[in-house]
């Protein structure tokens, strides 16, 4: 009980600080700390799914994205002090678009996690075993209420297109901070990258039975992508090649096609035929969301690999 109160108080204080923090940078740090404390709160309330989502999306990737936007803002202000407003509003827009998408995603998780003895929850617990899934949240997200999830993936897509539309082609050279020239980074990347990949795939796979799933996995992948971009192993490209574009839409597309396909063979719309479809959809979602986040971070239409 004491811990509950403590966490709640902490959250209130942090949210307040993040919103009215004296300097922007302090506000950002407060925001990230807020994300972490929220993670702890979810964990304490016994919902590791939400804790994961919050840690990965709320604190991790959003933190990184806000930081890069902050950096760009300062840089733009320094370089073109006369009329920073269009650029400013562009960036603000990108952040806000992103925030909206993320709020939606978190809301999705939050609602799907509402349990207790509510009618819906009771029915779900009776129905879940039929689906072969062990994780009720994945059940809700991919099987029972998959229309929500489908549309949420479309939200991410729309958010990205909106941000892209706002940034435009000339923003292919949106500034990125130079990679820190320290010998530590290469070994760090080399070690972290494979491990992150494995953990991400694990989270995806585990999602059907245990906490985890596409959203968390994609956030982890996005974090990896951010690391690669920051260390200069992956650079921005001026245009999105078809692979990038395909990657962006594959989540939505696969989801829709599976749903429509079921309709064609006479099953209800968006009925999920089996656990393999869950994996297929989740994998596609992971790719799309992860790629979207990395592209937003890089601020470029496409990505190109570089060997250092």
């Amino acid at each position: 009980m004491v811990i509950d109160v403590f966490l709640a108080l902490g959250l209130v204080v942090l949210a307040w600080q993040a919103l009215i923090g004296g300097s922007l940078f302090r506000g950002i740090v407060m925001f990230i700390v807020f994300g972490m404390v929220l993670t702890l709160a979810w964990a304490w309330l016994g919902s590791p799914d939400l804790a994961m989502a919050e840690a990965a999306i709320g604190a991790g990737v959003t933190g990184a994205l806000i930081m890069i936007a902050y950096w760009r803002l300062r840089r733009i202000n320094a370089v073109e002090p006369r009329d920073p407003s269009p650029a400013r509003s562009r960036l603000a827009l990108v952040i806000a678009v992103l925030a909206t998408g993320l709020v939606g995603a978190i809301g999705l998780a939050a609602v799907s996690a509402l349990t207790g003895d509510a009618t819906a929850a009771r029915v779900m617990n009776e129905t879940l075993p039929d689906t072969g899934l062990g994780n009720p949240i994945t059940g809700v997200l991919i099987v029972f209420r998959n229309l929500d999830t489908l549309l949420e993936v479309a939200v991410v897509l729309a958010a990205y297109i909106a941000a892209r539309a706002a940034l435009g082609r000339e923003s292919a050279d949106l500034p990125l901070p130079p990679a820190p020239d320290t010998p530590l980074l290469t070994p760090l990347v080399v070690t972290l990258a494979p491990l992150t990949m494995v953990v991400a795939i694990y989270l995806l796979k585990a999602g059907s039975q245990y906490p985890g799933g596409a959203f968390q996995a994609s956030a982890l992948l996005a974090a990896l992508g951010v690391l690669l971009v920051l260390t200069g192993r992956v650079g921005p490209a001026a245009a999105a090649n078809w692979l990038t574009r395909a990657g962006l839409v594959i989540g939505t597309l696969v989801f829709c096609l599976v749903g429509l396909g079921m309709l064609v063979i006479g099953a209800p719309l968006l009925a999920i035929p089996g656990i393999w479809a869950v994996y297929l959809i989740e994998a596609a979602m992971m790719i799309s969301i992860g790629l979207t986040l990395v592209l937003l971070f890089a601020g470029a239409p496409g990505l190109s690999g570089k060997r250092s």
């Binding site: 290469t186 494979p194 795939i201």
Partner: protein
């Protein structure tokens, strides 16, 4: 890709499978293998080939050294933190680096921060000069000892003593 790289990729693969096992157990080893292969190929894409490699049998010794030193470091800093007089004497020293680029140098830079009284503060761009921030006496000795230990671990010198 030369044999050494292949070997390294193999080791990474094994390690990643191990990580998978830790995470998921034996339930779906096939997926784990796929994941590990993807991870290992990422490693192959990213890694920079170096002419030296870690001598596994010398690892326990280094780990022991590291554990003992970092516990000492922690105790030392805890003592200083709780001491009413706050007995710290911040100083900055420059220290030459003899270790080659890559893992050895990374290990030096990171582990130094865990040893008693030392903190790696900056490494110049060609990696030959390390700035060490110290809050206790004799940081030089600590750095030198660590360098020797790492060099020994990678088979660059025959003895772990400086």
């Amino acid at each position: 890709m030369n044999r050494l790289s292949l070997l390294r990729a193999g080791i990474v693969l094994v390690l990643l499978v191990l990580v998978w096992l830790i995470l998921d157990g034996l339930d779906s080893l096939l997926t784990g293998l796929v994941a590990a292969v993807i991870g290992a190929s990422l490693f192959v894409l990213l890694h920079v080939p170096r002419p030296y490699h870690l001598r596994i049998w010398r690892l326990p010794r280094f780990v022991l050294f590291f554990l003992v030193e970092s516990v000492r470091g922690a105790v030392d800093v805890a003592w200083r933190a709780f001491h009413p007089a706050l007995p710290i004497v911040p100083a900055m020293i420059d220290h030459g680096v003899e270790l080659p680029a890559g893992q050895p140098r990374m290990l030096l830079v990171s582990v130094i921060s865990l040893l008693p009284g030392t903190l790696s503060a900056d490494l110049d761009s060609d990696g030959k000069m390390l700035k060490v921030h110290a809050i206790s006496e004799d940081p030089d000795i600590a750095v030198r000892t660590l360098q020797a230990q790492i060099a020994y671990l990678y088979g660059l010198i025959g003895t772990p003593r400086p």
